[in-house]
Structure formats: structure tokens, C-alpha cells
Amino acid sequence: MSVPFSGTLRRSGGIVSAIGKQLKSINLKGVKRITVQFDPFAENVKSTREFFFLLSTPKVIQTNPKCVVKSDIVCDRQAASIKFALIDSAQEQAKVKEIRFNSGNLNTLELLELCNKHVSSLAPPEEVTNKVLTKAEKQKLGGGSKKALKKK
């Protein structure tokens, strides 16, 4: 009797590809301000700093250009934290004004996963504007100016 198959058919790409996968699904539309607070001389701020770096990448900023990412460097050995101040519609949805991650004991991948779970889900749904203009409609819109040109 053969043993039934168990295990994976594909090998995982490691932590870097997991981080990349999480980054692809991040959405900051529901956030108006992010404050990253850390003490640079503390021991466990590496993941906070990396998360801060990943939030500053162009792709993430493009999801919401109005969202401001601010840093707050402290020197009194406070714990590292990341605060997301939500927009009004997201506040109603989540019933909180802001979300705070205490990132002292979290690594970068966990931070991203939590962010996707709590913050990206609060993004307001996009309004789909896929209306395709027919030739007649296009002529109507631009028809007035064209006719004027033709008369000349």
C-alpha cells in the first residue's frame, strides 16, 4: 500500500517573498495619517524601521497619496509603536478613531500581516468607472468644437 501524498507541491520562496506578497495587497486608502514612533537606540526597533521603510515605497504611497507618514524619534526608551489615524468612513466602520500597533515584539512580516488584516480592510471600496464611450457619444462631446473648426 502506498502512502498518500502529504506535503507541498511548491516550495515557499522564503520570508522575503512573503513580505512582498503582503506588500502587494496593502491599501492605505482608509488612513489619513501614520505616525511611527521609536527610540533608535533600543534593541528591538529593527522591524519598526523596516516597516517604516516599506511604507515609504512608491507603490504603497500610490495607494493613498494624501496619507502622511510621519516619524517620531524619542529618546526615553519608550516602546516602539505605529499609529494609524483613520478617515471618517473608516472610523465609522471600525468604531475606533485610530489603530495602534505595539511593534516591539513583532517582526516585519507580522506587522504587514496585521496591517493588512486591520487597516487594508477598512479602505473604502473603489467606484468603478469603466464606461466605454461609443463613437457617437464621443462625437457629441467633442462634436461642437470639431464643427466649429470645420466651418473655418
Binding site: 533608535p40 537606540f41 533600543a42 534593541e43 526597533v45 529593527k46 524601521r49 523596516e50 517604516f52 521603510f53 515609504s56 515605497t57 512608491p58 516619524s71 524619534i73 529618546c75
Partner: protein
């Protein structure tokens, strides 16, 4: 002619051919070789080289051992570590920044602006800085290099104001801390240091503070005399005015 003359026994001589054929402009064929004659093929098959295969059992754990053994360190790292130590020893001002995602164009622009103020923007890997700094008094800056960073060196600590002014315009560079005159300063302390006046200003402030007590005593002793003089002045002026008024009225009348 000399080729055709027989000087030795037949079949023992080697002769170059009378006609030697030369290829001119034709392309040779190597992609579709002719199948060799059976005899020739037999000789070729027999003369193929046979290489001995390494026994896999012996090398089974060697690759893992090779992978996991200590990697040889590149001696170039030592040279760069020496350069870092040199920069640290000869700069009066060292500022360390956290660097967010930034385009090469922007960082170049910042580098140029800093260079005009004699500030040097550099970045090294954590391992090299570790090698450069362990065992020296600069060991405390190690925690700042766990993530993307850059360092600015300056031989003159007065440039802190210019440095802050330039980096304020760059949101991707976040000041973490620095070393000024061999003293490690946090971000807030660095900002406070930038607000301080220069040495002459500080000396003037010190002189003022030292003179404060004595100055107050002198002032207390002199207040009454000064008041009297002031009142007399006002009185004299008032009298003088009335005198001129009376003389003028006398003249008119």
C-alpha cells in the same frame, strides 16, 4: 622537382602532396556532419574517454559541510573598515540618519548640497561598521545601523545648522542621533546643540552671568542717586521752559 627525386627507400619517405587544395570563400559545414564510415565510427567509439565517477556517498555530507562552514572573509572589508574608522576619528560632527525609500536623483541632489557645505554623505554595510567600531569608543552607535541608513561626516561641528537646514527639506532622511566632539548625542540633544550660540556667544553669556551679581549690587547702590539726578533734570528742564516762556512774553509785550 626535389619532391619527386627518390633519395631513400620507397615507402619510408614522407612527401608533401604536389597539389595542395586551399579553401577560398566557401563556408565550412559543421552543423550537419556526414555520418562516419562504420570502421571510422568503431575507432571513434573505442577511443572515447571514460572519466571515473566520484563515489556519491563520500561527498554526500561534504557539500553541506562546505555550505555551513565559516565563510572566508574578504580582506577588502578590512580596508573599508579602516576607512570608516578614519572618518570617525577625523570628523568633529557625525550625524546618522534613517533612510527611507528615495530615488538616486534625489539623494544625489542632497549629496551635492551637503558637499557644498563641506559635509560628506556616506553609507556602509552593518557588518563593516561592526568590524570598524567594536573595541573602539564608538561602539555605542551600533544599534542605529540595523536598517537602511546613511551617515554624514563633517570636520567642523559648526555645520550642524546647515546640515539640519538641508535635511529638513528631505523627508526621507530621518535624524536618529550623532557624535559631536567624541560625545554621543540623541536627536533632541543634537537639535538643542544646533540652537546653541557659537563659542564667542557662549563666552559672552558666561561673562554676563558672572557679572550679574556684582552688577546688581552696583545698581542697588546707585539707584537713589540716579533717581535724584533724573528728577533734577526734569525739574531743570521744566524751569528752563518756564523761563524761556516768560522772556518771550516780556519781549512780545
Amino acid at each position: 622537382m626535389a619532391n619527386l627525386m627518390q633519395r631513400s627507400l620507397p615507402l619510408t619517405t614522407t612527401r608533401t602532396p604536389v597539389l595542395q587544395f586551399l579553401r577560398f570563400r566557401g563556408k565550412i559545414n559543421i552543423q550537419r556532419p556526414k555520418e562516419p564510415h562504420y570502421e571510422r565510427a568503431r575507432v571513434v567509439a573505442v577511443t572515447q574517454p571514460k572519466y571515473p565517477e566520484l563515489p556519491k556517498a563520500r561527498s554526500c555530507f561534504q557539500t553541506r559541510a562546505e555550505r555551513t562552514k565559516e565563510q572566508l572573509e574578504n580582506p577588502y572589508n578590512e580596508i573599508i573598515a579602516r576607512e570608516v574608522r578614519n572618518w570617525l576619528n577625523h570628523s568633529q560632527l557625525v550625524a546618522i540618519f534613517h533612510l527611507n525609500s528615495i530615488t538616486a536623483d534625489e539623494i544625489f541632489r542632497v549629496r551635492v548640497q551637503l558637499h557644498k557645505q563641506n559635509l560628506h554623505l556616506k553609507s556602509y554595510g552593518r557588518k563593516i561598521i561592526d568590524q570598524a567600531v567594536t573595541g573602539t569608543p564608538y561602539e555605542a552607535i551600533m544599534p542605529l545601523f540595523h536598517s537602511n541608513h546613511c551617515i554624514v561626516f563633517s570636520p567642523n561641528q559648526q555645520q550642524i545648522g546647515a546640515l539640519l537646514k538641508i535635511t529638513r527639506r528631505v523627508p526621507q532622511m530621518v535624524l536618529l542621533g550623532g557624535i559631536v566632539e567624541k560625545t554621543l548625542l540623541s536627536r533632541n540633544e543634537l537639535m538643542a546643540y544646533a540652537q546653541m550660540p557659537n563659542l564667542q556667544g557662549a563666552q559672552a553669556q558666561l561673562v554676563q552671568t558672572l557679572n550679574l551679581a556684582a552688577g546688581q549690587l552696583v545698581q542697588h547702590l546707585q539707584t537713589h542717586q540716579a533717581n535724584l539726578v533724573q528728577v533734577l533734570d526734569v525739574h531743570a528742564k521744566g524751569n528752563g521752559d518756564t523761563n524761556t516762556n516768560t522772556t518771550e512774553t516780556a519781549d512780545e509785550s
